[in-house]
Structure formats: C-alpha cells, structure tokens
C-alpha cells in the first residue's frame, strides 16, 4: 500500500486543488483492486454517452457531447484567412478550449490555464494527424486565401475525462458542419451561403483515456478516479486501427506493458465509441 499523499501545488493554486480525503482514496483503490469501481462499472466500461449535433444555429457546425455528467458544447465556425507561409495551398484547423468556471469549483475565470491548453492541443493533435479534414480542399486561392476552421470546446460540466468527450464531440461537430461554398470569379472570392457544403471530412479519429490506479488500468475515469489516479494515458486511433495521437498525463510513470495493454483496449473500445457518431 503506497503512502503517497495527495501532492499539493504551491502558491495560490493550492486552494483550488481539491484535496481528496484519505478515506475516499483508500475506498476507491480497494474497490479497483477487486476489479470494481465506485459507480458499479467494470474497468472496461464507459459511462453513458450522448451526442446531439446541430444544437447551435449560429455555428456552422455544433455538438453537445456528454460522457456521464461531463458535458461539453462544441461549436465550429469558418473564417477566411491567409494560409501559413510554409503551407500555402492548405487550409487551417484551430482548436480552442475553455474550461468554464461554471463547470467545476476548481476552474477559475481567466486566460486558459495549463489544463485547458493541454485539452485543446491534445484534441487538436488527434484531429489533425488522422487527418480529420482534407485541408487541401479548404484552399481557395493558393498563397492568399484559405478557410480557417475554428473548433471551440466549451466545457460546461466537468465530471472526469474531458479528453475523450472533446475528441468525440469535435468529430461529431465537424461532421455536422456546413460552410459557404467558396468559388473564385474574376480574382474575387464569391461565397454562396444559400448552398453551403459539408466540410471535407476524411478520417474520424477517436480517443480513449485510461487511468492507472494502483497498478490497474481503468477506462473513462470519473472525477473521483481522476483525483486519486497515479497516471493517465490517452490514445487516439483511426478507424483502421492506426494510432494517430497519444498523451500521457499524471505524476507517476507507466510501464511499457501498461501502455501496450491500453493500446489493445483502445482498438476494441473505439469501435464501440464509433457507434455514437
């Protein structure tokens, strides 16, 4: 039995970190050692998942995703912009995340903190590497004008495992998105908003997150489980089983066996997740 106490961050952040009672930590760990979880799930089960698309009319694409009580509103909006200098014939995908203060007593108002930035960047990496969009098709005038697609993650209730919800919801939202049809006439860009077109979606990657608690790997950690976990591994996978992204989190290390075991589980579980799309 490890004697590790909840590590405290120093300074002002400390008050915002919820300190898990030792009793709770022990009870969760004991259950998991017996292959059980506090909410009755097995180590392999996701909580209830629901996705609604097209929920925000002003957004060209949108989704509300729930995993358990974790809830994220996702909006997709296109903007015309200049391409990056080194990729002049390719559109741009940008992912931004806000951990709204209403979502948790531990979220403060202000510019994105490290948790928010990590969530946005991991989601973005998974989407970009698949790739979810054929960005070349989003080029309108090479070197001058391309479509910039903004995916905005608005976390409204945090109850554990934001990453899987963010990726699942983003894929649904992007698949739901219709942007104005852009054509070039006489060197001018003409946008036809009356006849919007779907985004050029190529791949639909999904992510599975596992938490390590006392040598057991459990999928889709709840808030309580995240608060006591030793480490976390998230694996992004395409439909054909290729790994397109990975992120390890948490303060303790993982072994190679644990990571490969998570990879195998992901292959199986992304099939299930895909049914929600």
């Amino acid at each position: 039995m490890k004697n590790r106490k909840t590590p405290l961050k120093i300074g002002m952040v400390r008050k915002m970190v919820s300190i898990v009672p030792e009793i709770t930590r022990k009870s969760i760990t004991e259950l998991i050692k017996n292959g059980e979880r506090a909410d009755g799930r097995s180590s392999d089960d996701y909580r209830d998942i629901s996705i609604e698309v097209g929920v925000i009319d002003k957004a060209e694409g949108s989704a509300r995703v729930k995993i358990g009580n974790t809830q994220i509103m996702i909006g997709v909006k296109p903007q015309l912009g200049e391409p990056f200098a080194d990729t002049p014939n390719v559109g741009v995908l940008m992912t931004n995340s806000e951990l709204l203060p209403m979502a948790s007593p531990t979220f403060e108002p202000g510019p994105p903190d490290e948790r928010s930035v990590e969530l946005a960047r991991v989601t973005d990496r998974c989407l970009r590497e698949a790739p979810i969009l054929d960005l070349e098709k989003l080029c309108i005038i090479e070197g001058e004008k391309v479509w910039m697609i903004f995916v905005d993650l608005h976390v409204i209730n945090y109850d554990g495992n934001l990453i899987d919800a963010a990726v699942l919801g983003s894929v649904a939202a992007l698949a739901n998105t219709k942007i104005p049809n852009a054509t070039v006439e006489d060197d001018k860009i003409v946008l036809d908003k009356e006849n919007p077109v779907a985004l050029p979606v190529k791949e639909k990657p999904l992510m599975c997150t596992f938490a390590k608690i006392d040598d057991e790997l459990i999928i889709d950690p709840s808030l309580e489980e995240e608060n006591v976990m030793d480490a976390r591994i998230s694996i992004g996978m395409k439909e054909d089983g290729t790994i397109c992204a990975m992120q390890k989190g948490g303060e303790m290390p993982l072994t190679k066996e644990e990571i490969m075991s998570a990879v195998n589980k992901t292959t199986e579980k992304t099939k299930e997740l895909r049914e929600h799309l």
């Binding site: 106490k5 909840t6 405290l8 300190i19 898990v20 009672p21 030792e22 009793i23 709770t24 930590r25 022990k26 009870s27 004991e30 259950l31 017996n34 059980e36 506090a38 009755g40």
Partner: protein
C-alpha cells in the same frame, strides 16, 4: 391572514402571510407582510411561519457535530474543510494539551475527523474541538455528501430512517450535521447504503419516502424488510458508536 398551505413549495419573494403571523426561518418581514426568502417548503407551527430550504450551504453553529477533512497543518493548529463556505480550525491544544508536539503525527492532510463546533464568532471564524464521546479520526469507510437541510430527513423520526439503513446493511453510519455522512461496513453494503442515502437526498421533500426507502433496500439486498414498530430505541445524534 395566511396565503399559503403548510408544505407548499414557495420561491424567494412569494408573499406568505400578513402581520398576524410571526416570521420564522427562511422568511422576512416587509411592511405588513411575511415573505419567503428561499426556495423551500412552508412550515406553519401555531402562528409562526417558516420556509425550510430545499438547498442550502452548511453554516457552522456552536454545538453542532460535523465531519471535516484536514486541509492544512499549521504551527499550532489544523485547518479543516467542513463542507461550508467557512473553514474551521482545530487547535493543537485540543489534542496535545499543553505539550508541544509534531502535529503531523496526530492528523495529516486528507484525514477525516468527527468533531464538535466549539465556537463561531461574528465574522464566522469557526473553532472546532475533539473533546467528547465518540469524536476523533475515521478509519476506512466511505464519505457521502448530502444537502445539510436534508440531514433530519435522513435521520428520521427518533432515528428510524437511519437505523433502518444501518440494520439492513449492517454498516456503521455517522451523519454530520454539515451534510457529510460516513459509512463503514462490507464494501458492497457500503455502496447499497450510498445508493439509499443519495435517493433520500433527491426525494427528501416528498412524502411516502420511508416506504420507498424500504422497497429500495429490499430490492438491493434481495429480501423482505419488516416495517418498524414504535419500539425504536432512541439514538443520540452525538453517539458515534450508534
């Protein structure tokens, strides 16, 4: 004149009665009227009209027994979270007397204790104490958080509700007046108790609850449960062993 019935659901600003009545908890006087300040159920006792809130924070009161978690260890005291906007302090002298000792050796961050609220001053600084039968540190078990206003409902008349749960699940259960509940028993039974307690919290404002709780226990435990007779031994809320 009274404008609402007993147990009516009211919201802030609702006019309840006129000057013939006294303004109790959850109400305020405005001119000749008594109005509700909360979302809650009207309680009329003689000429006093109160509103029992459905949702509220725990505000520490002298004499309360509460379950708290240590959040900080200082030079001569511990800081505790008692599920309230106001944290409490437990002076080291309560545990060590006049000797100077290493506080960590007694209680450390994350430990959960059963304490008494010794004093609350005008700016709500809370002093806690451990002197009393049954007070002290919890070992093992699980914690459940409920709205503090629902504690009486969870305990039941003369403890009937909480005793039914204790007897059927064979768990030790201690209910802090601050809405924190400690349950210890066989792990499966702890989860049964947790489910039942959460259900009571959700439905505390309804009637017929006792029957539904009995049915839920029957279902979860797979057996019939007898209705309690009136000969229920009266438990003491201060009795941690109960």
């Amino acid at each position: 004149m009274i404008l609402v019935e007993d147990k009516a659901l009211v919201v802030p600003g609702d006019v309840l009665a006129d000057e013939e009545y006294y303004a109790g908890r959850g109400t305020f006087k405005e001119g000749n009227n008594i109005c509700s300040s909360l979302v809650g159920l009207v309680a009329i006792r003689d000429k006093k009209i109160s509103v029992i809130p459905l949702q509220s924070k725990y505000i520490p009161k002298r004499g309360d027994v509460v379950i708290g978690e240590i959040t900080d260890v200082r030079f001569s005291m511990w800081n505790l979270d008692v599920n309230s906007p106001y944290s409490g302090i437990l002076p080291a002298s309560d545990v060590f007397g006049k000797e100077k000792r290493d506080l960590n050796k007694a209680f450390d961050i994350g430990d959960v204790l059963f304490l008494r609220v010794v004093d609350v001053d005008e700016v709500k600084k809370v002093k806690l104490g451990l002197k009393g039968r049954g007070l002290g540190k919890f070992r093992g078990g699980i914690l459940i958080y409920i709205t503090p206003t629902k504690v009486p409902r969870l305990i039941g008349k003369k403890g009937s509700m909480i005793n039914m749960i204790k007897d059927e699940t064979k768990c030790d259960i201690i209910v802090g007046q601050n809405g924190v509940v400690w349950v210890k028993g066989e792990p499966k039974m702890e989860r049964v108790a947790e489910k039942v307690i959460n259900m009571i919290e959700e439905q505390a404002h309804t009637s017929g609850l006792t029957d539904r709780v009995r049915n839920m226990l029957s279902e979860l435990l797979g057996k019939e449960i007898e209705e309690e007779t009136e000969d229920v031994p009266e438990p003491d809320i201060d009795n941690k062993q109960g």
